[in-house]
């Protein structure tokens, strides 16, 4: 579930508040807050839509985990999903590399 809104990177654009399908975030006067963490369905879509790579969704769907933000940054894990699907400027070519057609029918 969602664990991190990195205050260093977040620009308070509130895109995450809008796009989260289960309404986990709330706007504030500053950066958004994770207001309803238990409602997170671990779909990773907020990460994908965050233009600053300021969010981190832990893969643990049922339990909150403590997360080391410095390690996430060192390991380039912030924004890793966005880069993998080609939603950053320098990974655009990855949008069209779906090879599912080779895997179907197995």
């Amino acid at each position: 579930m969602i664990e991190v809104i990195d205050a260093e990177r977040c620009t308070s654009c509130d895109i995450c508040v809008n796009v989260c399908p289960t309404n986990v975030f709330d706007k504030t006067d500053g950066i958004p807050i994770i207001a309803r963490q238990a409602d997170c369905q671990t779909c990773f879509l907020c990460e994908l839509y965050c233009p600053e790579d300021a969010l981190f969704v832990s893969p643990f769907a049922d339990a909150s985990q403590s997360v080391d933000v410095v390690a996430l940054k060192q390991g380039a894990l912030l924004g890793s999903y966005r880069r993998a699907v080609g939603w950053t400027d320098d990974t655009r070519e990855l949008r069209g590399v779906d090879r599912s057609y080779l895997l179907f029918g197995h």
Binding site: V17, N18, V19, C20, P21, T22, N23, D39, Q41, T42, C43, F44, L45, L48, Y49, V57, S58, P59, F60, A61, D62, A63, L77, S80, Y81, A84, V85, W87, L94, R95, G96, V97, D98, R99, S100, Y101, L102, L103, F104, H106
Partner: protein, 539 residues
């Protein structure tokens, strides 16, 4: 009609608008319906519980699409290849028109700029869609078609006129702390299926809301016994991508192989093993090329592994089966004609909110047919609703009442606790020994408990503003579970995904559909399979 017959009056602080067509739900079916209705001249409003573009089972995932080139032999093989799996309950005519519509709409996606991959021979491959990319594009096209989108605006109830026809809906704007009312000449329910908050990928917005709203207006359901698919995920994670587990070896704690366990055709062996203890998987049958294709095709599959330091190809990791309910089942609102009209005038259904019995029978296998159905049924329902609205003419002066019941009525009793009710329903539908493997005595025991929960919830008072959405979701889950198990009891055989321990074989006398409906009193009734002739020929 079980409505409150309460005259519609605007709640303080609510927004009100008029439309020709109101679409509830902004996943694939809802967006195709909205675009189709707008292209047929309707003024359209689309209300989504979450955010149109990220909401629903498709947006978070990748999905196959039943896209088959219009070569008669290929089409024939595609249809014939599904019939046995679905228990011979499909209708050939519906399969054929779904293939036609899916082909046409997928090609429109290409024109709109969807980045389909090109294979080594230079051919554009169109039988798979990346969920985030697809739904981002669909939101853009929905807006471009002139549709007004209400995000974070879950519908709570339908509006009906004096004659029982549907006349709009009302709901919450949960980020504005107010309400919305849209009077419409026709409504398309595209709110998805019900996965009972199981956290199967992207599905926690899918709580059967449209089934409950439809039933309150008098709509019927069908094939609700086909509602027990479970998807494989890492035990700790949410990402369910069953296709990739086709390359897995499944083992017990001690490392020995679970006999008969497989993603396809052996998932019940995994369920039986999970009833005894933990089960592990390792995707050790994937060679280097398959591994590369998996990474390229489905980056989200690897998030739970990359972020926990597990190499799924060489490490064992614990797996679980998460209930997908009617999201990958085939039950839903009954459709009565080619426009995806329901049994209630002015009410249409599309996608997983509608039955998929016509194209899938009693088994879907994967996202492919559901994705094709969402595109096609959305397209038809949108056009049907637009045509209905045009014929209805100026109907804005009709008397309209709210149809919602449970959790919305002012009663002396205290409101029920939604989280507690949702958990109580999960306790009846998650266990493999109740839902995966069904048996009369166990189904009857569950139904007794579920009926008691309904009696309590339906006599409770109105939920508070803060709780009303959760209360309606829990009530919809409860209603869905009761239709599922009542239908499951009525089908005294095993067919499609419906398995009865007490009736392990398919029985020719049950090659019919099971309709269901009702809220306080749940009923089921057999319904003749419309397309019986081919099924006999196939057997």
């Amino acid at each position: 009609m079980t409505g409150r017959a309460e005259k519609l009056s605007a709640t303080a602080g609510s927004i009100e608008s008029d439309a020709d067509v109101l679409v509830l739900g902004g996943g694939p079916a809802g967006t195709w319906a909205a675009i189709s209705a707008a292209e047929h001249g309707a003024r359209v409003v689309l209300a989504d519980k979450g955010f149109c573009g990220t909401s629903g089972a498709t947006a978070a995932a990748g999905t196959g699409v039943w896209y088959i080139d219009p070569d008669p032999a290929l089409r024939e093989a595609a249809m014939a290849g599904r019939e046995k799996m679905g228990g011979y309950l499909q209708a050939r005519r519906w399969m054929a028109r779904t293939l036609d519509c899916t082909y046409a709409q997928s090609n429109r996606l290409a024109e709109w700029g969807y980045p389909y991959p090109v294979d080594d021979s230079g051919k554009s491959q169109r039988n798979s869609l990346q969920g985030p990319e697809y739904m981002r594009l669909m939101r853009k096209r929905t807006k471009a078609a002139g549709v007004i989108i209400l995000d974070h605006s879950p519908a709570l109830e339908l509006l009906v006129d004096d004659g029982g026809a549907v006349a709009g809906a009302a709901g919450l704007r949960r980020q504005k702390d107010d309400r919305w009312v849209v009077r419409a000449k026709a409504v398309v329910i595209a709110t998805g299926g019900c996965a009972f908050l199981s956290k199967t990928l992207g599905s926690n917005v899918l709580t059967g809301d449209g089934y409950l709203m439809g039933a309150e207006a008098g709509a019927e359901l069908t094939s609700m016994e086909f509602s027990n698919p479970y998807a494989i995920s890492a035990a700790f994670g949410s990402v369910t991508k069953t296709l990739f587990y086709g390359w897995a070896t499944f083992t017990y704690e001690d490392g020995s192989v679970v006999p008969g366990a497989a993603s396809k055709g052996g998932r019940s062996a995994i369920a039986r093993a999970l009833m005894q203890g933990p089960v592990y998987a390792r995707l050790d049958k994937a060679d280097e090329e398959v591994r590369r294709s998996m990474r390229a095709s489905q980056p989200n599959f690897f998030l739970p592994f990359d972020r926990t330091g597990i190499d799924p190809f060489t490490h064992r990791f614990p797996v679980t089966l998460r209930l997908e309910g009617t999201v990958r089942g085939t039950g839903g609102l009954r459709i009565v004609d080619d426009t995806c009209a329901t049994t209630v005038p002015g009410l249409y259904a599309a996608g997983d909110a509608a039955t998929r019995e016509l194209v899938c029978g009693g088994f879907t296998g994967g996202g492919s047919h559901n994705a094709a159905w969402a595109m096609s049924s959305g397209t038809w329902a949108g056009q049907g609703a637009a045509d209905y609205a045009r014929l209805a003419g100026a109907a804005s002066n009709r008397q309209v009442a709210r149809a919602g019941t449970v959790a919305l009525r002012e009663r002396a009793d205290r409101p029920f606790a939604p989280a507690q009710l949702a958990r109580a329903v999960q306790d009846e539908v998650f266990p493999y020994e109740l839902n995966y493997f069904r048996e009369a005595g166990r189904l009857e025991g569950s139904l007794e408990r579920l009926d008691a929960l309904w009696a309590e919830a339906s006599s409770a008072g109105a939920a508070t503003e803060a709780d009303v959405l959760r209360a309606r979701e829990a009530a919809a889950m409860l209603a869905t579970a009761r239709w599922m198990y009542r239908s499951g009891l009525a089908r005294k055989e095993s067919r499609g995904m419906h398995r009865r321990d007490d009736f392990p074989n398919q029985d020719e006398r049950f090659r019919h559909y099971v309709s269901a409906g009702g809220l306080d009193e749940v009923w089921t009734a057999p319904r003749t399979h419309a397309d019986g002739a081919y099924a006999e020929a196939a057997e």
